[in-house]
């Protein structure tokens, strides 16, 4: 019998409780481990080869952070563009846009390099105390296709513990949990933590592949001021402004923000400072990320409908219009695709090293036919890491 002083229970109570705890943990860990299996990506005809991020920094070999890099090379020489999805795995339009490019785009001139799960480790967990689903599905003509909803930061199983304060490689002091945020870790470090090594590998890729224009895709909560926007390093500001103008002409409202010089560690700042690339970041509104959201479900992620946000918009609390129709994933991915295509068009008008990409679905096409129409059927041939 265990000591009874102060109300301690009997031995069998402890045994029963331990067995119950064991059963709960076993069930939960089965669910957590399922997150380690990547849903397949089906490379389209435009993909010429697939490499690993560890090919650019071998320190990532065999780590949960290594991720697939899809290269779409045209028959004619030209410039090179990088599109990064999945920096934050809880911003699904970002990785879905990258996947749509991989499965649809065809490059005739230059190269397009796409990383759909930039922080691969972040796709293996969800954030505690946020109540997120682990998966969501997009309806394709051949049936539902499942995708992984992840976390903003690297899985703590892969990188732990967080320091009290995180001072990134650019010298910025941040809250300790930001140590697992890829978009606070640039330019990264080969001897740093796992997230910094991923950041280092991406910066090395930009240098090694001589990337001319780099686009980091994101989503933000509707109450966040930088939303429906392109954030540009000062070197890329003209291209961003011109692209925004064209997008506005086409009826897509989008703003332009200059990358703040004192906010260090972010892609739009460090890529531009550390390399010769034109660094840009694009945001779309995702109610599933917001603090004002209602029930946290896979439906909310895909349909983007939330009555709380409708009320919040009526009270003037949001930085993006929010009606009963919400902001469905079709719209968010469509916006990103249209923005990427427009940015490339504008870039081409400034250079002789064109990057000509066909097959990028337009916003109106995605809205009309649904995103699923542009995704490969769930049973197709897969590739990747």
């Amino acid at each position: 019998m265990i000591e009874r002083e102060g109300g301690y229970g009997r031995g069998w109570t402890a045994v029963v409780l331990l067995l119950m705890t064991g059963a709960v943990l076993l069930t939960a860990s089965h669910s957590f481990l399922a997150m380690r299996v990547d849903p397949p990506i089906y490379p389209g005809p435009g993909v010429t080869h697939v490499v690993a991020l560890s090919d650019y920094f071998e320190g990532l070999i065999g780590t949960p952070a290594d991720t697939a890099v899809y290269i779409l090379e045209g028959s004619e020489p030209g410039g090179t563009a990088l599109v990064l999805g999945g920096t934050h795995a809880n911003e699904p339009a970002s990785s879905l846009t990258a996947i749509t490019l991989i499965e649809n785009a065809q490059v005739t001139r230059g190269r397009l390099i796409v990383i759909p799960r930039a922080n691969h480790s972040a796709f293996t967990c969800t954030e505690p105390q946020e109540g997120y689903p682990q998966t969501y599905t997009i309806e394709t003509p051949a049936g539902p296709r499942e995708f992984r909803y992840g976390s903003r930061g690297t899985n703590p199983i892969d990188q732990w513990p967080d320091p009290v304060i995180y001072v990134n490689a650019a010298g910025q002091s941040l809250a300790g949990s930001e140590v697992r945020n890829l978009n606070r870790s640039y330019p990264g470090s080969p001897s740093g933590n796992l997230t910094e090594q991923v950041a280092y590998a991406i910066v090395k890729l930009i240098r090694q592949e001589d990337i001319d224009i780099s686009i980091d895709l994101h989503e933000a909560s509707p109450e966040y001021p930088v939303i429906n926007a392109i954030v540009a390093h000062e070197d890329a500001l003209n291209i961003a402004a011109e692209a925004a103008m064209f997008l506005e002409f086409e009826g897509m409202q989008i703003g332009v923000e200059r990358s703040p010089a004192n906010l260090r560690g972010l892609s739009h700042r460090e890529w531009g400072d550390a390399t010769d690339t034109l660094a840009l970041l694009v945001e779309a509104p995702n109610p599933a990320q917001g603090r004002l959201r209602g029930q946290t479900t896979a439906k909310l992620i895909v349909e983007g409908i939330d009555p709380y946000y409708v009320r919040a918009a009526q009270r003037g609390l949001l930085y993006v219009p929010f009606s009963a129709e919400g902001h469905p994933i079709d719209e968010r991915v469509g916006r990103h695709l249209q923005t990427v295509a427009t940015l490339l068009d504008v870039y081409n008008s400034y250079t002789n090293d064109d990057i000509v990409v066909a097959g990028i679905p337009t916003l109106s096409a995605v809205l009309e036919q649904g995103l699923g129409a542009f995704l490969a059927p769930p049973s197709g041939p897969e590739s990747g890491l």
Binding site: V24, A28, P128, G131, V164, L174, S177, T296, Y308, R311
Partner: protein, 466 residues
């Protein structure tokens, strides 16, 4: 559940279930939280989501480890005789300056929070060190608990490390730059006022009874006695001062290393018994935190959290202040960091146009008051353990006025943000520092006068009694 009002049902049921289980059925708070979380999920049509319950608890994994290891460390240095020795020397060294001693001990008690950004760590380290000295000065156990709880909270908010501000800043892309002065101006005057408010009357009425002084073991064990504390300070300061060179050990490892050193530095002890007792003392609050993690996860899952946040941040300006003052400490009951993230960020956004540094500084302090809010009340609970008070509400009772004062001052800080914006961000730094120095000197003079007043009063009282 398409209507926003329909999503009120699970959260209201969760709150009602928690209250019923805790107060009507007298079940432990931790068990009540789990019960409420499970019922909330069931009502929202989520079944019994085991993954969510475990994941919610995992959100507190680091905090749980810090609590367990800090508690072991505190009990070890208590058993080694270090706590008694420091208290003894503090009192004998400052016997003739009691008011100054109060203020210095308050600042010392805050220091661990300033470095670690955690009120729990502050209460269980520097708070535990000064607590016997406060008691020996004639301050009651409960008031001593209140002082070190408030010191822990103010230390957690004072610079250089303020995690709630960093969390708020992370949510609005505001770098942690330019906060040092606004945070000092907010916290230091409050610290001085609170310690004098809680302690001055007691030390004036009591003459130190030397026979009740805690013993010193300095002669017996020499400087070796202080080794656990020295290692703790060195490891923490090194990590903070040279973050790019010294790797992050993590607070749990730092506390464990120092706890393991303690048995070899002073009085004889059985470290296994001390560690077991420490964990036993920490277990109820660890259970509460585990339950709170589940409760929070189900709140987010069912939409209850969104319902509360959208209701609070959408209020008109006058009510917004009331909402900040009430909701942030209340939400802090589940987690001060959570309050900063979930409510602090929307409140900063709702107050855009006002100096964001001032607003975030003040909001971080209001959020930190959650560490006094039951059921978790981390600062109050551990302060009660330090002063050996089994009923932590007796400590919290003495925190009420300081807490109200703190919330009031914080809201005033936001309301007068335009003035602070002009003053603290004044281009003429020389004039600014001159004024601040003059104010500090004036406060120091007042404290010195208080020293003499306390001694004179004691003499007069002593003569009258004789």
């Amino acid at each position: 559940m398409s209507s926003p009002y329909a999503e009120m049902v699970p959260i209201l049921l969760m709150i009602a279930t928690f209250a019923a289980m805790t107060f009507a059925f007298k079940l432990p708070v931790s068990v009540s939280l789990v019960g409420a979380a499970i019922l909330g999920a069931l009502v929202a049509g989520q079944g019994v989501p085991l993954r969510h319950l475990v994941e919610g608890t995992l959100g507190y994994m680091d905090t749980l480890l810090i609590i367990a290891t800090a508690m072991v460390f505190m009990r070890m240095i208590q058993a080694s005789g270090l706590l008694d020795t420091i208290a003894h020397h503090l009192i004998t060294g400052f016997e003739s300056r009691p008011a100054s001693l109060l203020v210095l001990m308050m600042l010392f008690a805050m220091s661990a929070g300033m470095i670690t950004g955690s009120s729990t760590a502050a209460v269980l380290t520097t708070g535990a060190i000064v607590a016997p000295a406060f008691i020996a000065l004639g301050i009651s156990k409960n008031k001593t608990g209140a002082i070190i709880a408030m010191a822990g909270i103010l230390g957690m908010i004072a610079p250089p490390v303020n995690i709630p501000v960093m969390i708020i800043g992370g949510g609005v892309d505001m770098p942690y730059i330019g906060f040092a002065l606004p945070l000092l101006v907010l916290t230091l005057p409050l610290a001085v006022a609170i310690v004098l408010l809680l302690g001055l009357k007691s030390i004036r009425a009591t003459t130190i009874d030397r026979s009740l002084l805690p013993p010193t073991y300095h002669r017996q064990y020499g400087w070796k006695l202080y080794l656990p504390l020295v290692i703790l300070v060195v490891l923490i300061v090194l990590e903070r001062a040279l973050p790019s060179i010294v790797p992050s050990f993590g607070m749990p490892l730092v506390f464990m290393v120092c706890a393991l050193v303690a048995p070899f530095t002073g009085r004889r002890m059985n470290p296994l018994v001390v560690a077991r007792d420490a964990i036993r003392a920490a277990l109820p609050v660890m259970g509460i935190l585990a339950g709170v993690g589940m409760f929070l996860q189900i709140m987010a899952l069912t939409g209850g959290r969104g319902f509360i946040v959208s209701l609070l941040v959408g209020l008109p300006l006058g009510l917004l202040y009331l909402s900040i003052g009430l909701s942030m400490p209340l939400f802090g009951a589940v987690s001060a960091y959570g309050s900063a993230s979930i409510l602090g960020v929307p409140f900063v956004l709702a107050l855009l146009g006002t100096n964001e540094i001032i607003v975030a500084s003040a909001l971080s302090l209001v959020a930190a008051m959650g560490d006094l809010m039951p059921p978790t009340a981390l600062a109050g609970l551990f302060a009660a353990k330090v002063v050996d008070q089994p009923n932590y509400t007796r400590v919290l009772k003495h925190c009420l006025i300081p807490a109200l004062l703190t919330v009031g001052v914080s809201l005033g800080y936001i309301a007068t943000a335009d003035f602070w914006d002009r003053f603290l961000f004044w281009d003429n730094r020389l004039a600014l520092y001159g004024i601040l120095l003059a104010i500090t000197a004036a406060v120091a003079v007042v404290i010195l006068i208080l020293d003499r007043w306390v001694i004179r009063h004691r003499v007069a009282t002593g003569e009258a009694q004789s």
